[in-house]
Symmetry: C3
């Protein structure tokens, strides 16, 4: 099973998947009306232009997915080809699959309408398996990774539908549905694929080199810069502006906190690049679910301070504990960057929801907490609107994160079991975190390099 | 001729060129009306704002030209200064020249109107010699490169005018006028400058190092991410949205295909960074000419699959054959990334044009195939509109690519002859692919690096 | 004082600063009306959307601040963690502080209104201490750097208010208030912290490695590409389009000039990466103050040519002279990239202002030179409008740069004295330009790297 034949059959399966996508696109996908020519005698309403007004934000998110995630994971000293390459491979596969999967949940007349919105959604969906990949980085084959992502995105789409459309939770920046889901799914898979207890030492290759750490900073910085676009892309009007402002401030506060706490808890009070590369971004995750709410600048800054602190402490104390005791390596520390900050965001959303009033949110209540509309008797109930009160909405927020964790962990364990016990090839310990098993690598370099 | 004096005179010539540009700007270029102050008593129509609505896409294209091309070419182990530096140098010279050259073809009252549109066009024009540079990378002096780009852009502007305004072909993303032209022009120059038959071996410097390969991925990824902006910037309304969607899907499909085919045809089934860096982008080229047509998602995906396959096979089999038999090195493989995918795009455009009907394209027919307007007798003929039928338009598409190839190859051979046989200094074999002949390079680095 | 305890107390102070920010946000900052929900019965004027129309330019500036400055400073061979990390740390602290400081100068009803505009302003303010950091790079502790930035931004906000609102100078791209201020403030601090005369040799670590130079090109290129956004973000309508066009052309001309002059003045006529990384950008600074004026394309190109020449000559002759004679190291050469080009911009602004007429600027005169409105008797005087004539406005431009230099240099000397003579720890000579005193650095790397 470890022969080249296994590789070949794995890649052939992926090609077949691509061809199945082609057929599904042909059968089910049509351009949305805004992307079709106007009838000759129609009056141009100028709406087409407005329809693509989110294009700049879409492009920011593209950079986050492909450059941000890809380069953030180049920090390993001998795994840079895989980090950037597999990110590209996985994202290219997943965006197609996400257009289809999310499309199936919103079909009209048996067809999926294709517009800019769909590919924005697809890019967001691509973040999910990329987050999980961080927990597994260097310990799976590309075939395992890609197959995992196909399972995961299907499950993600279902869970997101459940959370947003059935439970009607607010989750503007996707911290619950994207970050928590991706992180805990990945951790569950990592738990299933964990090494035997006698192979648990951390290898030299599981660390950075001077150069690889700087490559990783490219990823960090682009993620930092464009995070407000990720959090605000699905919000409109004033809510969108608040999402930008809150995310920006939370990131800034988390960054300052990360540097301080990193220096305070580290050996000889030296700063740790792992913290700088990751925990600075925790502010973006922790504010995600609530980024369009009326937090105030101080609310955003407070969330950032908490997130930066928790994330650094997680890297410093919790991750080594998990490696030692659970044999769970979490290569990129997604639990500290995505997992715990997403839990903070979910809790914050319950707190803010419990205080939400129609007097405060006015006309935006319907967008943000649609299930609350109708409570004051002056609004007609809308689709799915249950006339919840604020406490009840807070409860649903917590229910939403609980169900997400359940589905993510359950799905991750199942997927991990499939990857481990079925016909997939598993990497051996000495193949971990090393490009050369799956890539042509330049022959031993001389000192000029 | 190989003395510093040759260098000095070359650079002095380039400075004179810059000063000639200054004079030409002074004589011929004026701000367009949208960039001039409104008269005090004029009513503000708010049009100025709309005029710069393409600014975000312009910036995306800027990143493609300067970061994308520059870093894509850093893959050579000792040619990174030149890759990023000469890209900057060439693009800075060419954008000025393109504003002038393209301006001369569209003068009003003896003046060129300067607006955002001109510099978008100039950025697109800069792509042309940068593509050619890929075929020559490491085997010319900067002076040769810059002089080539001045010739080439003048010829490009003329050919583009011919193709779009005389033959009225569709070429929304510029695969014919930009990619095919740049690739075959560059290959023709490379053919003229090819090494003597006893110097044809591929040197160690013609390959990558581990670090340089990761730098190159910066270029690849930004080109990938922003390609939809390149293809859609000149389209409007619904056509613009289709250009975005089709380019995105074609890139995604080409990427998945590239990884699979690369693994299947490579030694030991290992992935090859050359393929990943380049062939993943072939989907963007191959969909270029037709990106605003009604391809459907499946059409875009199919084009991507074909492009990825052809491109990888080209790198694997055709390029080594050309190196061995024609002594044509094509350092970056532009034939596989730009040349062949552009031919695919031209053929696709003939096929789709042959099926175009006014019933399908409605009010957009005039924008996309202006020469076809009038065929059904219900539209008045517009300027240049010949009332072509669909088959005839298809023929023109093929005629357009044929003329483009002819002009590109003829111009390239001529330019190559000038670079080789006139007073230019030519690099010797042992000066190839090495920064230090034209750059101050840090003294031999020690192992700390 | 050189014990870890000094580090600890420094970081603790920074945490306290962050918490003070939190309290100030809570006390003084509120969302602006555009970022608040519309009343249920209000008619949606669609204005919210327009309010964030500058969002794409904001994101370009974010990339300049975090990626551009951060990576431009990675050129030192062993200071890449600090370059990218401290940029992130400083910018994250400063943006919060700038929102507050600039807000205090424009309070309404005792509150600061928070909107996208504020964080655009904050990003621009972050450029100021980052420029100063370039003059000090590698020769301060992070604590010194951060404390300096807090002082500096307060002073910057005051000086900017003075220049723009009291003296009513034009400074669209901020060359006077941002670039000149940041450069001369930094140089003054560097002068105070200069080494003793027996420690003035330039160490090996004060130079680049092959890899670090390519990292720096990431910074250069992103700064180049997005500079038009920096210069135009505060301009509107036609002035905004001119700012884009002029900046683009000036950068292009400066780039061509930089390459030529670098080759002509360098040893063996080889290009120097320091020039390419920095002087290519001088065109963006030199055109900054005047970028929205009616320069014409030739005016912009001429400014670029002058800036490129002056900047390269500065690096080649002036900087080594300053190092040798003043013991002023100016690690990144900010005097050549920001200082002198900003002076050119100020002089250009006086020249163009002296020729400005209401016949030429029409309705834009009020935006660009508000103090000149009223001179022709047909306009009512506006707030602060003094009915200046053109010569007088030119004088104010020169007065503006003079006062800016005075405040910057005075403030820098004072700040430098505080950093040197109070309780701050100062780096010793052998700790300069080396990450490992403040960062965990991977253990000695082997030759594989």
């Amino acid at each position: 099973m470890h022969s080249p034949a296994a590789k070949v059959s794995g890649y052939v399966v992926l090609m077949i998947v691509q061809i199945i996508f082609l057929v599904l696109f042909w059968l089910f996908v049509r351009y949305e009306k805004t992307a079709l020519p106007l009838a000759i005698d129609a009056e141009d309403a100028g709406s087409a232009n407005e329809h693509v007004s989110k294009y700049p934000q879409f492009q920011d998110i593209q950079v986050m997915i492909f450059i941000g995630f890809g380069f953030l994971m180049t920090f390993l000293r001998k795994y840079g080809y895989s980090a950037t390459g597999f990110t590209l491979f996985m994202a290219a596969l997943v965006v197609q699959w996400a257009v289809l999967m999310k499309g199936f949940l919103h079909m009209e007349g048996g067809k999926i309408s294709l517009s800019l919105e769909n590919i924005i959604d697809a890019d967001i969906a691509a973040a999910v398996p990329l987050i999980s990949m961080g927990a597994l980085l260097g310990r799976t084959t590309p075939i395992q990774l890609l197959c995992m992502s196909v399972f995961e995105v299907a499950l993600f789409a279902a869970n997101e539908y459940l959370a947003l459309h059935v439970f009607s939770i607010c989750d503007c920046g996707g911290s619950i549905t994207v970050h928590a889901f991706g992180a805990y799914f990945g951790l569950a898979v990592a738990l299933m694929l964990r090494p035997a207890s006698d192979q648990n030492e951390t290898g030299k290759l599981e660390g950075a080199s001077y150069t690889s750490d700087i490559f990783a900073m490219i990823g960090t910085t682009f993620l930092w810069v464009y995070w407000p676009s990720f959090n605000s892309v699905l919000a409109d009007g004033a809510g969108g502006e608040r999402a930008i402002l809150n995310t920006f401030l939370s990131l800034a506060a988390a960054t300052v906190t990360t540097f301080v706490v990193s220096a305070l808890v580290s050996h000889e009070n030296k700063l740790d690049m792992v913290h700088v590369q990751n925990s600075t971004l925790a502010g973006g995750v922790a504010v995600g679910t609530v980024c369009n709410l009326l937090l105030g600048a101080h609310g955003a800054v407070l969330i950032g301070i908490i997130a930066g602190t928790v994330s650094v402490l997680g890297y410093r104390y919790l991750t080594p504990w998990m490696t030692a005791n659970l044999r769970l390596h979490d290569t990129c520390g997604v639990h500290n960057l995505h997992g715990m900050p997403a839990l903070i965001s979910a809790i914050a959303s319950a707190i803010y929801a419990s205080m939400a009033t129609v007097g405060e949110y006015q006309s935006e209540l319907q967008d943000i907490f649609p299930a609350m509309v109708g409570t004051n008797g002056t609004e007609t109930k809308i689709m799915g609107g249950l006339g919840r009160n604020a406490t009840s909405q807070a409860g649903y927020q917590l229910f939403g994160i609980a169900v997400t964790l359940l589905i993510a962990i359950g799905g991750g364990i199942l997927t991990g079991a499939v990857l481990k016990y079925t016909n997939f090839r598993n990497l051996k310990k000495d193949e971990h975190h090393l490009d050369e098993h799956y890539w042509e690598v330049p022959a031993a370099e001389n000192k000029e390099e």
